[in-house]
Subunit: 157 residues, 2 copies
């Protein structure tokens, strides 16, 4: 199927139209929010280039652009933590995507071993948020050393 | 309260520690996913600079960085569509934030008039996603002309 994206020439068409006209930033990337379709929990926040987006659309398996490795990254290729894309949403100005996914493998998504990458929240004190974090997931789903071995850690300082 | 962020010097501390060490990109921005705390629906995807983040932490009202207007943007200042920040989460490498919010005003978030900015999904054909969109919200919550008047539209081509 032809998946070419139409050129963005009208704000009205971008916001109110039925034509997919995604906006990639100056790095050629668009952010993706990945959500567990079963409970709407946000699992991760990644990026896609045009090729990763089209691969996801065609294969129904989530593909991202790895900014740390500088390559297309088919989720689960190393870890088995695949994501089947059950729904794709796009926002008003078409510069952000949501993937609603069914988790494969160990039913987790985060390379640190937790289900979601968002396993910490900010604590509060005197009705303000502080810079001290609290864990919201108490146990890891898996041991990342067993799953990833010596693969370089994608987290950069 | 002192809200200064500690310097990122250890991947282990960033991923597994209890110290808030957010990473701002080369524009000085960090992405924020805003969620309705009542049903986990994703409302919008925005950005904050350090000042907007600290204002949100102190005031409990969502502040963003407007890339189109190039300024701090206190959500709801023009429209009344305020967001009270009930929970703040951060991801593994601390380069993305979630705001769980209680919506004020008309209980909507999107400048086009819908509740969520994600009011369209990709349709499917022959077990692939297509570049044709379908609306998932059938009615606007408000008329943007009445709320925003002549304010320039933030959507850019």
């Amino acid at each position: 199927m032809n998946l070419d994206f139409k050129k963005r020439i009208s704000v009205e068409e971008v916001e109110e139209g039925k034509s997919l006209q995604p906006k990639f930033d100056n790095r050629g990337l668009i952010p993706v929010i990945t959500v567990d379709i079963n409970n709407n929990e946000i699992l991760m926040h990644g990026y896609m280039n045009e090729e990763a987006f089209k691969l996801s659309m065609k294969s129904l398996e989530a593909h991202y652009w790895s900014r740390s490795r500088n390559c297309i990254w088919k989720k689960g290729e190393t870890s088995g933590l695949k994501q089947i894309v059950k729904e794709i949403k796009i926002d008003d100005d078409q510069d952000c995507i949501i993937f609603k996914v069914e988790l494969g493998g160990l039913k987790a998504s985060c390379h640190v071993g937790y289900k979601s990458c968002f396993y910490r929240k900010l604590t509060m004190k005197n009705k303000e948020y502080t810079n001290i974090l609290e864990f919201t997931e108490n146990e890891k789903v898996f041991d990342p050393k067993k799953i990833y071995g010596d693969t370089p850690n994608p987290t950069k300082l």
